[in-house]
C-alpha cells in the first residue's frame, strides 16, 4: 500500500472509532435534554425531538424552590468550588514540585503518607473529620468546606508530580546557571510548563467540589439560602423520583450540570492554549 493509502485507512479507522465512541458518550445527554423539554405524558416516548416542546419543567423547578433559592444555591456552590480550585492548584503544585524535584530524607515517607490518605473513602472519614472540626470550634461556619482545599491533597499532588517528573532536568540546570532562585524555578519554569495538567486538575477539583453532597449536607444548615445546589436538589429529588416525574428530574439534572459545562468550556480554552504552547516550545 502506498503511503497515501496507508494514511487514508488509518484516518478512516480513527474517525470511525472516535465518532462511534462520541455517540456513546453523548447519547445520555441528548436523552436528558430531550426528556427535559417534554410534557410528562410523553416522558417515555421513543422520540428525539419532543413535540410539543415545553419549558414548563424548568419553570416548575425554579418556581418550586422558595424565593430565588436557586440563585443562592448556585452561588454557594460556585463560591465553594472556586475556592477549592484555587486552594488545590496552589498548594498541590507547590508540594508536587518539592516531591518531584528535591531529594530530602523525609520525602518517601511523606509521599507514602499522602497516598495513604487516599485509601480511606470519604464516607468513613466524615465523622472523624467532623469531630476534629468540632474541637477546632469550626462547626457552624463554612470553614470545614474551605480549609481542606488549602492544605494540599493527595490526588492533585500526585497528578502534578507525575507531570513535573516529565520535565527535563536540563531546563532546571540551565536556569540554575542563570542564577534562578528555588522558588523562581517553580514559579517561572515548572508552573507554566504544567498548564495542561493544572487545567485538568482545576476541572477535576471543581467538579468534585460542585457535586459533593455529604460534606455540605453535614456542615451547612439545610436551608435553601445557605446550602449548596446538590443538597437542595437532593431534597427535591426524592419527591420527584417517587412520582416518576422524569421530565422535571431531567430538567433538574441538566440545570445541576450546566454550570460545570460552562466552567469546562473556559478551562478547555486554557487547556488548548497550554497544549499549543508546549507543542511550540518543544
Amino acid at each position: 500500500m502506498t503511503k497515501k493509502n496507508h494514511k487514508f485507512v488509518a484516518d478512516l479507522l480513527t474517525y470511525t472509532v472516535l465518532i462511534g465512541g462520541a455517540i456513546v458518550m453523548i447519547v445520555p445527554f441528548i436523552w436528558m435534554i430531550s426528556v427535559s423539554f417534554r410534557v410528562p405524558a410523553q416522558q417515555y416516548a421513543r422520540i428525539l425531538i419532543p413535540n410539543p416542546v415545553t419549558f414548563q419543567n424548568y419553570v416548575n423547578l425554579i418556581k418550586d424552590l422558595p424565593d430565588n433559592a436557586f440563585l443562592f444555591l448556585t452561588a454557594n456552590s460556585f463560591k465553594l468550588s472556586i475556592l477549592m480550585v484555587i486552594g488545590q492548584v496552589l498548594t498541590c503544585s507547590m508540594a508536587a514540585f518539592v516531591f518531584a524535584v528535591c531529594k530530602f530524607r523525609a520525602r518517601n515517607l511523606l509521599f507514602a503518607l499522602l497516598l495513604g490518605t487516599m485509601m480511606i473513602p470519604s464516607q468513613v472519614s466524615l465523622i472523624p473529620n467532623f469531630i476534629i472540626f468540632k474541637y477546632l470550634g469550626l462547626i457552624g461556619s463554612q470553614w470545614p468546606l474551605i480549609l481542606p482545599g488549602f492544605w494540599g491533597g493527595a490526588f492533585g499532588t500526585f497528578l502534578l508530580r507525575q507531570y513535573f517528573l516529565t520535565i527535563p532536568r536540563d531546563l532546571v540546570d540551565a536556569a540554575r546557571m542563570d542564577g534562578a532562585s528555588f522558588f523562581g524555578i517553580f514559579w517561572k519554569i515548572y508552573l507554566p510548563l504544567a498548564k495542561p495538567a493544572i487545567a485538568a486538575l482545576a476541572i477535576f477539583v471543581f467538579k468534585d467540589a460542585w457535586n459533593d453532597l455529604l460534606h455540605p449536607l453535614v456542615y451547612l444548615p439545610t436551608d435553601m439560602h445557605q446550602t449548596t445546589l446538590t443538597v437542595g436538589l437532593a431534597f427535591f429529588q426524592q419527591q420527584l423520583v417517587m412520582g416518576g416525574k422524569f421530565t422535571v428530574l431531567m430538567a433538574g439534572a441538566f440545570l445541576s450540570i450546566l454550570p460545570l459545562l460552562i466552567v469546562f468550556f473556559f478551562a478547555q480554552k486554557q487547556f488548548i492554549e497550554g497544549v499549543a504552547l508546549t507543542g511550540m516550545k518543544r
Partner: protein
C-alpha cells in the same frame, strides 16, 4: 529517577515553606482519616455512647459476615472489569485525538462531558436508558430484532454498572493521557519518520514507553476509584430502602456506619478495603520502578 535540585543554603527554607500547607493537610488526614478509622476499628461504637473496646472482634466478624464478603468480592469483580476498561479505552481515545484530525476540540468536549456530570444526574438518565420496558437501549435491541435484556436485574447488573462507571471516567483518563502525550516532543516522531518507522512502530517504541508515567497514574487512580466506587452503584441498583443488586464494599461500609449503628464494623471494613488499596499501590510502585520511563 534523578532528583537533581538541591536548594542552596538559606533556600532550604523554601522547600519546607512550600510543603507547609500539605503538611497541615497530612496531619489532619492522617489523624482524621487513617488513624481515626484504624482506631475505631478496634472499638464498637454506636455513635451515641462512648466507644467500647472490642479488640479484634470486628475483624473476626468480617470473615463471617456474608453480606460483607459478598460486597468485597463484588468490589474485586467490579474493579477487574472497570480498570482495564477505563485505562485502555481512554488511552486509545487520547492517542487517536493526538493525531492531526479535524474537530479535535469538539471530540474532546464530547468525551469529557460524562466526567463533568454529577453521578446523581447521570444515574437518573442511565436509569431511564436501562429500563426494561421503556429504555432506549432495549428499543435499539428490538429494532435490530433482538430480545430485550433486563439490564438492572441481578444477572446483568454488574456489567451494566461497569459500563456506566467506565462511561463516566473515560473523559478523565483521556485528559490525563492527552496531557502526557503532549509532553512527548514531536521531534522524536519526526526522527522516527525519517528512519522509516511505521505508525504502529512509533506507537509501541516511542509513545507507549514515554507515556508510562500517565499509565501508572491513571491505573492507580482508576483502581482506587474502583475499590471505592459507590455513587453510580447506589443510584442504579438500590432496591428501595434496602441493599443493592450489586453491593460493593463502600455500600456495606456506609450502611453499617449510618444505618446500623455499627461504626466499629464499618471502620474495620474500611481498613480492610484500605489494605487492598495499599497492596495495589505497592504493586503499582514496583511496576513504576521497573517499567516507567521518565526523561
Amino acid at each position: 529517577m534523578n532528583y537533581g535540585l538541591k536548594p542552596f543554603g538559606r533556600e532550604r527554607i523554601w522547600l519546607w515553606l512550600m510543603l507547609v500547607p500539605t503538611l497541615i493537610g497530612l496531619a489532619f488526614g492522617t489523624v482524621g482519616s487513617l488513624l481515626a478509622t484504624l482506631g475505631l476499628s478496634f472499638f464498637d461504637w454506636d455513635l451515641i455512647n462512648p466507644p467500647q473496646w472490642a479488640g479484634i472482634s470486628n475483624y473476626a466478624a468480617l470473615l463471617q459476615n456474608k453480606d460483607y464478603i459478598e460486597a468485597f468480592v463484588n468490589t474485586l469483580k467490579f474493579s477487574a472489569e472497570y480498570v482495564p476498561g477505563v485505562v485502555i479505552i481512554s488511552l486509545i481515545i487520547a492517542v487517536l485525538l493526538n493525531r492531526k484530525i479535524r474537530g479535535i476540540s469538539i471530540f474532546r468536549t464530547i468525551y469529557f462531558l460524562p466526567t463533568v456530570t454529577s453521578a446523581v444526574a447521570a444515574a437518573l438518565v442511565w436509569n431511564m436508558i436501562y429500563g426494561k420496558d421503556t429504555g432506549i437501549l432495549n428499543l435499539g435491541l428490538e429494532s435490530l430484532g433482538l430480545s430485550p435484556i433486563c439490564w438492572l436485574c441481578s444477572e446483568h447488573a454488574m456489567f451494566s454498572v461497569v459500563i456506566v462507571n467506565v462511561w463516566g471516567a473515560i473523559g478523565e483518563g483521556m485528559i490525563i493521557f492527552l496531557a502526557g502525550l503532549t509532553a512527548i516532543p514531536r521531534d522524536y516522531y519526526e526522527v522516527a519518520s525519517i528512519d522509516g518507522a511505521s505508525d504502529l512502530q512509533k506507537f509501541f517504541h516511542i509513545t507507549l514507553p514515554l507515556i508510562t508515567p500517565s499509565i501508572f497514574f491513571q491505573t492507580l487512580i482508576s483502581a482506587i476509584n474502583a475499590f471505592q466506587a459507590y455513587d453510580y452503584i447506589y443510584m442504579l441498583t438500590r432496591r428501595g430502602q434496602g441493599n443493592s443488586t450489586v453491593p460493593v464494599a463502600v455500600y456495606s461500609i456506609y450502611r453499617n456506619a449510618f444505618n446500623f449503628f455499627r461504626m466499629g464494623d464499618a471502620s474495620a471494613q474500611a481498613i480492610q478495603l484500605a489494605l487492598l488499596v495499599a497492596v495495589f499501590m505497592l504493586i503499582m510502585f514496583w511496576w513504576e520502578r521497573h517499567y516507567v520511563v521518565y526523561e
